[in-house]
Amino acid sequence: MALDLSVITDNIPLFLEGAWMTLRIAAAAFVAGMAIGTLAAVASLSGIAPLRWLVAGYIAIMRGIPFIVLLFLIHYGLPAAGIRNPALVNGIAALSLFAGAYYTEIIRACVRALPKGQWESARAIGMSPFAAARIVIVPQILAPMVPPVVNCTMTMIKESSVISSITVAELTFSGLVVQGNTFAPFEVFIAVALLYWLICGLFATAARAFESRLAGTRRNRGLTPLVGRYLILEGRRT
């Protein structure tokens, strides 16, 4: 079978519109998810037991149910409760809740990794909790947060494809539309996949550059060539 490239070239505007919508959804979910993550992490670290349990339950549910189920719960549950939003808003809400759970865990882990004395001495010299967090804690957790946040955001961008199932016109949805018009599923989904790949690839490259600038990569600590033959997967055979 020959690839029919006209299917793709004829519909480039539609694909780009979808990709643009995917980026906007991801950006909105990133901002909202970070807000949720920060609040939930603070609640979890506050030492108030009911709040901690609440956050633990939130995280367990978000990790335990598929994103598509969460999306449907929100998309059908909110109208049942009398709240009618456009599908786009529901999609972003679901994605934010989903990403927020992972951001919560990242923020919490980074704060926990700091020596406890940091917070205690900041409070001891009379800083308010807010000032201690802003001046002492936040600047120190930003750098270690970057790699896991990038990873999680990439997962989130990919997961946003599921929002197509509630008819939000993002990249996957434009693929489904073009496929319905042209009956050329292979070309269409390859094109869609390549666009996602491009988005994620650019993101990953930027992240890697950022990461290697933050810390010299520490790896493959002195394995002999013989050992490396089994335990290392990259590079040349020795």
């Binding site: 149910i65 997961e159 292979f186 996949a193 994620c200 990953a204 493959n220 089994y230 997967l233 055979r237």
Partner: protein, 220 residues
């Protein structure tokens, strides 16, 4: 409209039956992915330049594209490109297994350098052939080291099975949607489906904790 718990309970029997389909698909896909991931890892360790370059591109593709699109490619794209038409469930298992194989191989790559190098030098000195070194020395330790991450990958696979509702596999989510459409109450049956996925994944996580505790005890 008020939330009606009795509708959730009414949907549970059918949805839980359908969840067995999710469980079956997940177990099959995970077994295939374990085999595939191990094979990929050993293949990558041979460091044949052309092969590793192909694997690197495939890995980047699998990691850089949504699994939903990969499922569409196998289910809709493959028949159009090659004439090979797979049943929805088979296509879904194939897509999830391929996806997971690459992720498992990456998990293995990350943990391989943790294995004590002296063991491999000793095995080689004893004259063990590479296949035996892999089977008897490296892989048993490796699986133990990566078991927490494999459990995590298992939950990802279970969650992936929900996406197969989109390609008409009759699993928990799709059945719950059908019940919702028949009763004009879409929300409550989906709560039932969510409970099923939550149950499966929490059981999986509990298994992970139990495994970890046991391994920790054995090491002591």
């Amino acid at each position: 409209m008020k939330f009606d718990l009795s509708l959730v309970l009414a949907a549970l029997p059918r949805v839980s039956d359908a969840a067995l389909v999710n469980l079956r698909i997940a177990i099959l896909a995970l077994c295939l992915a374990l085999l595939g991931g191990t094979a990929l890892t050993v293949l990558r360790s041979l460091k044949i330049p052309s092969v590793n370059r192909v694997i690197a591109v495939l890995l980047s593709f699998i990691r850089g594209t949504p699994i939903l699109i990969q499922i569409f490619l196998v289910y809709y794209g493959l028949p159009a490109a090659t004439g090979l038409r797979l049943a929805p469930e088979v296509a879904g298992i194939a897509a999830i297994a391929i996806n997971s194989s690459f992720f498992i191989s990456e998990i293995m790559r990350g943990s391989l350098p943790e294995i004590e190098g002296g063991q491999i030098e000793a095995s080689t000195a004893l004259g063990l052939p590479p296949s035996v070194i892999w089977r008897k020395v490296i892989l048993p330790q490796l699986f133990r080291k990566i078991s927490p991450m494999l459990i995590n990958e298992g939950t990802v696979v279970v969650k992936g099975t929900a996406l197969l509702s989109v390609i008409t596999v009759v699993e928990a989510l799709r059945v719950s949607q059908q019940i919702g459409a028949a009763k004009f109450r879409p929300f409550e049956p989906i709560v039932a489906a969510a409970l099923m996925f939550l149950t499966i994944n929490l059981a999986l996580m509990a298994l992970g904790w139990a495994l970890e505790r046991r391994f920790a005890r054995e090491i002591r």
